[in-house]
Symmetry: C2
Subunit: 388 residues, 2 copies
């Protein structure tokens, strides 16, 4: 095993309950935690520019191995110098393995112990993902952090199905590790990224499975960081929070924990309270494209007629590039008129909102006021949401 | 008549043949001429942000009275403080009157001396534009320069039809002027924009009509500036250039001339050579959304497979925010994957290309090298265009 990677480290500077403020160091720089990571599925955070992301304070972004494998191809991206160079994001990048996407292809895929055979959602071509092939793809992409190939099941899956998927994910983790180590050692053609492999805790909404998964992963090695997968995929929120409580006590406290695909504001705050350090979600950009925007008083929609003559920003006091310039009336006009700038401004605001939320949470942990801060924040967010 | 407007002035600092370098001063600041004005039909230059436009050096932008009248409404924009405030563009703005749009609604409109009755392209509602109503709309929008309501006919229109439209445009100009003066004097509710009304030379591709139009407009007053309309609407390019030659000798040399809706690179250079100072066109953003991009060696398309692994920028040496960061391979990927950032990057590049082209033309006029510069530039642009 060669899990020792000196270019990665994690230090926790403050704790407040289970919430932590820390720094995750990567070959492309440090990430202050807790942190929200915007998602650039296809090597672009939809409707935003890397400069927008830098200006709003984003540090680490995601890209997706499944999507990039199909288009434009991981080998092509390697030829172009790797993801950082290709998309001109010179801060840390994390790639998801595509497990979630592959297992979502209901009816188009065959699951076997070896891996998953599936038809491309783009052209129907036959593809196969195995732990070994995914490690190769993620190496070609060249992100700092790469996720294991895992077996993902829907959030409400029964115990027997969740157990099969969890146990397979553990077996696949071992195969990922072997392939990862081999590639790091043998694949010396430039670019030769220094990467960290994160395992993924699975187990659905079953506490015993989550516990077993976390323990098996710990027994397999001392990982740079830990993913928590298979949540926010259809289960009830109390179930998700309960699983975070279980995993929180099972994972080592001196490594970063990344809650995959979770990105609604309230879930971020609840996650930090349960020891999570990293989050990602397409919600801020996907919702932004439908007109939805976050405020500290809940989620709103810009298409609502109530904003027609509203000269105030999306959120008073917000320092994002939309709120410091434009009125709700103007952004609403852009949406009604189907102007692309509207999508961009709401996406900017929503991503900024989550990045700033985690900055505030971090400050509260550092001040030792996280418990009160989070309680007040959640109360305000939930109470006003109902009235809009 | 009250055409004396001290907040507007024009000074020509250099001449080179008929080409001029000058400064058009407006209540929202100076415009160095020749200048290309990006088009923000619906109060947004499609896919771009006002900050993008500022960074690439745009000075004056257009918006459209027809489109804004229908959505979100000129009175609404006035309520929101006028166009500058609404779209957060604090440099000069020009509004087109909507003449071109209204007369394009073949089958949906009735032309009478009073004005044009038409059905909205959005909801079929019955609307009427008259010289008087258009002046009211353009005052509500509050641009610095507003265009008269004119009668526009297709580029290949026969002499009799072009003559009817040209003569009607002259009569409508007088009605516009009366309405404009009355509004400037009587309409004192804030915002009270200081505006200049530009007449529009019409006459199709008939030299005698263009001459008659220009003379009638000059006889009607000493205008702040002069529009040249009804070109680049289907006629052959040599016909357009011939009309510019005619108009060039008829219009006063101490006032800015604005060639409406003309914005292909070669047409800008040919226009400057014929005494034109201001240009606008949707081409750079519309073409950008289809994958086309300008280079000094002609127009190209980013979807072309030849760029798949091309690590060079759209144009070597270009200083735009796309070329200084991204490869053709990346931008091509964005187009293939239908990522919005692709539209934005090509629109940025294309608008920058035209703004920079006019900056270069201005420098050549100032240096007294315009004739050679334009000959070389056109030769390179045309020769290579054929090979791509």
């Amino acid at each position: 095993m060669s899990l020792d990677q000196p270019q990665f480290s994690f230090s926790v500077s403050h704790k407040d309950g289970f919430a932590r403020a820390g720094t995750f160091s990567t070959p492309h720089g440090p990430v202050a935690t807790p942190q929200f990571m915007p998602v650039g599925t296809l090597a672009s955070v939809k409707s935003l520019d890397p400069d927008d992301l830098t200006r709003l304070g984003a540090t680490m972004v995601l890209a997706n191995a499944y999507h990039l494998r199909l288009r434009p191809g991981d080998e092509m991206i390697r030829t172009m110098g790797g993801l950082h160079q290709f998309m001109q994001w010179h801060r840390p990048i994390l790639t998801d393995s595509g497990g979630f996407q592959v297992f979502s292809l209901e009816g188009l895929r065959t699951i076997e112990e070896e891996g998953v055979a599936f038809r491309s959602h783009l052209d129907g071509s036959l593809q196969q993902f195995t732990p070994e092939s995914v490690m190769r793809i993620e190496r070609n992409l060249g992100a700092d952090v790469i996720m294991q190939f895992d077996h993902v099941v829907p959030g409400q899956s029964p115990h027997d199905l969740a157990k099969i998927a969890m146990e397979r994910s553990i077996r696949w983790l071992e195969r990922c590790r072997v392939a990862f180590d081999a590639l790091q050692a043998e694949d010396t053609l430039a670019p030769t990224p220094v990467q960290a492999l994160f395992p993924i805790v699975q187990g659905g909404i079953h506490a015993d499975l989550r516990q077993a998964s976390a323990r098996a992963i710990r027994n397999a090695g001392d990982w740079v960081g830990y993913g928590i997968g298979g949540l926010s995929v259809g289960e009830a929120k109390p179930d998700m929070y309960a699983m975070l409580d279980v995993v929180n006590t099972e994972l080592p406290t001196d490594k970063p924990r990344y809650l995959m695909g979770v990105g609604f504001p309230e879930d971020l705050v609840e996650g930090v309270a349960r020891g999570v350090d990293l989050f990602d979600c397409v919600a801020p950009t996907r919702m932004g494209r439908t007109g939805a925007f976050f405020t500290s008083a809940g989620r709103k929609n810009i298409k609502n007629a109530q904003w027609r003559l509203d000269s105030t920003p999306l959120e008073d006091g917000c320092t994002c590039a939309a709120c410091t310039r434009f009125s709700k009336a103007y952004i609403r006009h852009l949406f009604v008129a189907e102007e692309i700038l509207g999508l961009r401004l709401l996406s900017l605001h929503n991503v900024h909102f989550l990045v700033a939320l985690m900055r505030d949470a971090r400050a509260a942990v550092q001040d030792g006021t996280f418990s009160g801060w989070s309680r007040d924040w959640l109360a305000r967010y939930h109470s006003s949401k109902l009235s809009s």
